[in-house]
């Protein structure tokens, strides 16, 4: 039922893009709250000649399956319209789909990521949990080793998953661990395990617009290190990590599109 509704939603949006010149394909991970007001975003993008289609990504399909769907949407748009710039817009978890698409479709002009994840999938899964856990326990040494044991369990689950072993959830698992387990066991999580940032950047021709919502600097530091170091090896073009306050997201995306579309 949910899928039907999503498809109807996509078709509805699709019917409205006929007269547009440019396209922003917004990839949104379903469990995340949107970082911006969609109506305000559509209005703002329309002012600069872009339409926006939102495509929902969730844990029920793999990264490459979603990438294939996104690719189909882009193709349909391209066939229906005169050639103009196409941008992908992603949130943190849907960045993996965005990277998969731009690594294959070299005609997409830019991938703009909102606190996007630039990491190998296995490292991403561990790092997210570790940072959350360490911040929960800031200033507090775990003298009984419970935090370190917790993180070792996370690490082992990822390694077991990589080896194709069945992973178990402890009876004492807290909500963070349960969510992690659910994602890890899902088609999306399974495909994330083998995601290689370097393999994707190697063939990427699109610009990467690197936007960071304020107060996410810790995550950004890891992502920036991975993106810049690897992208430089393959000549991938990317913006500086621009931070923005959450109430300025729409304006910042619009500005990024205006900047990037002028660049080759």
């Amino acid at each position: 039922m949910k899928k039907i509704l999503i498809n109807v939603f996509v078709l509805f949006l699709w019917s409205n893009v006929i007269s547009a010149r440019g396209l922003v394909l917004n990839l949104r991970y379903s469990e995340n709250e949107s970082s911006f007001d969609s109506i305000a975003m559509k209005t703002s993008l329309s002012e600069i000649g872009y339409d926006m289609i939102t495509y929902i990504v969730d844990k029920n399909r793999s990264i490459s399956e979603y990438a294939e769907k996104v690719y189909e949407i882009v193709e349909r748009y391209r066939n229906a319209e005169t050639q103009d710039t196409i941008f992908l817009l992603s949130d943190r978890l849907s960045t993996f789909v965005g990277l998969d698409v731009v690594s294959r479709d070299t005609t997409i002009h830019g991938l703009i990521t909102l606190t996007g994840a630039y990491n190998d999938g296995d490292n991403f899964l561990y790092d997210e949990i570790s940072i959350k856990k360490n911040l929960e326990m800031m200033d507090s040494i775990s003298f009984d080793g419970s935090k370190e044991h917790y993180l070792k369990t996370v690490y082992r689950m990822i390694q077991d998953k990589k080896k194709g072993k069945k992973i178990k959830l402890s009876l004492q698992a807290d909500n963070m661990m349960k969510e992690f387990y659910t994602l890890l066991n899902s088609p999306y999580g399974t495909s994330l395990i083998d995601f290689s940032l370097e393999e994707h950047l190697r063939t990427t021709k699109a610009w990467i617009g690197f936007l960071i919502e304020e107060h996410n600097e810790m995550k950004m530091e890891i992502d920036y290190m991975n993106l810049s170091w690897t992208a430089n090896k393959y000549g991938v073009k990317y913006s500086a990590p621009f931070s923005y306050p959450s109430d300025n997201c729409v304006e910042k995306i619009k500005q990024m599109i205006l900047d990037l579309r002028q660049k080759k």
Binding site: S130, M138, D139, F143, E148, K152, M225, Y238, P241
Partner: protein
Amino acid sequence: MRHIILCLLVLLLSSTLAYGDSIPCQFQMRDGRIRKGKVFCPEKFNKKALVIIVNHRQQKVEEAQFLYSYLVDKLLADGISCCFFDNRPLHSEDSTSLTTLFDMADDASDVYNSLKKNKTFKKFKMGFIGTSESGGSALISASSVAKPSFLIQLVTNVEPQDKKDHQIFTLYNNPVWTAAFTDISTALSLPFFKQSVSYFPNASMGISFHEYSAMYQIMIDDMKHSRIGDKEDYAKRLYNKYEGSIKSHRELFAPLITHFLGKQMEEDYLAPRMWYNAKPYYKKVKCPILFLSGYHDYNVLCSTNIVEFEKTMHENGNKNYTSVIVDATHNLMDFGVERRIMHGGDGEIDRSKQHQIMDAISEWLRRNVN
């Protein structure tokens, strides 16, 4: 002036170390030289444990004594001895090379081995503590001596050094440099250093950020592999490579690059440590490790390093580690550098936080040497 103040502080400090004796020592180094040092011992409750304070190559031992003074007092009160030793000069005697973090590790290892041969200390549980770059030296020392009892690394780097230096330099260290090579709006959009606007230059070259970042990566790699040669020639060659990307103020390019290379290779700290990679050393360390990161550290970033440290521990099967993020800057020992940025002007600094951190380190050590 700075040295006079430091000397006065050290004098004051030595008169306030009320918990015990200081035993002058002479350490046999691997090059045949003798290095002087001191072991501060507690008067009572001697736990027969000793912390070797690993030198930072840019710091004199007097500075280290001052910076670690609160922790040393605390450890002495807990019955744990502490050893300081003289540092070698930053440049070799013939001025042909800079002292490296690897030299600092050799020195600390030699001190450890000397102490292990000393009648008084040979049965002591001994380990190393190091902060920032000397945390890396402490790791190398712990990996190279027999049976160290503990390793404490404060605000130190785990990522390969070249990768870390690239990250820090392009992200946080030098927004003025970023503004000069790219443009002011790019530098202004970077997190954290927005308040540096008053220092930004009027002239920008307009290179794209990713090209600027790639150029910096190339320079790091060339420094690492000693491919720079004549700095002015190198700067000209780099100019030729990026000429098409420079939109204005071309005359700034070569002098800025030459200045930068001179600073990194001759005066400062980048070039001599570029080969450092912590991961292989951790494989050889089996003792308990305390790894502490500062949440507001804009020099050794807490997120990148704490996760890398933990994954290395898991990978090596080392269960005997403790990692912690503390609400502090890079200068756990000295707030001076970042006081303007992080502590609101030149007013009084609340050192209670710093003391809480030192108390926690001391408690960790007390539990691990019992």
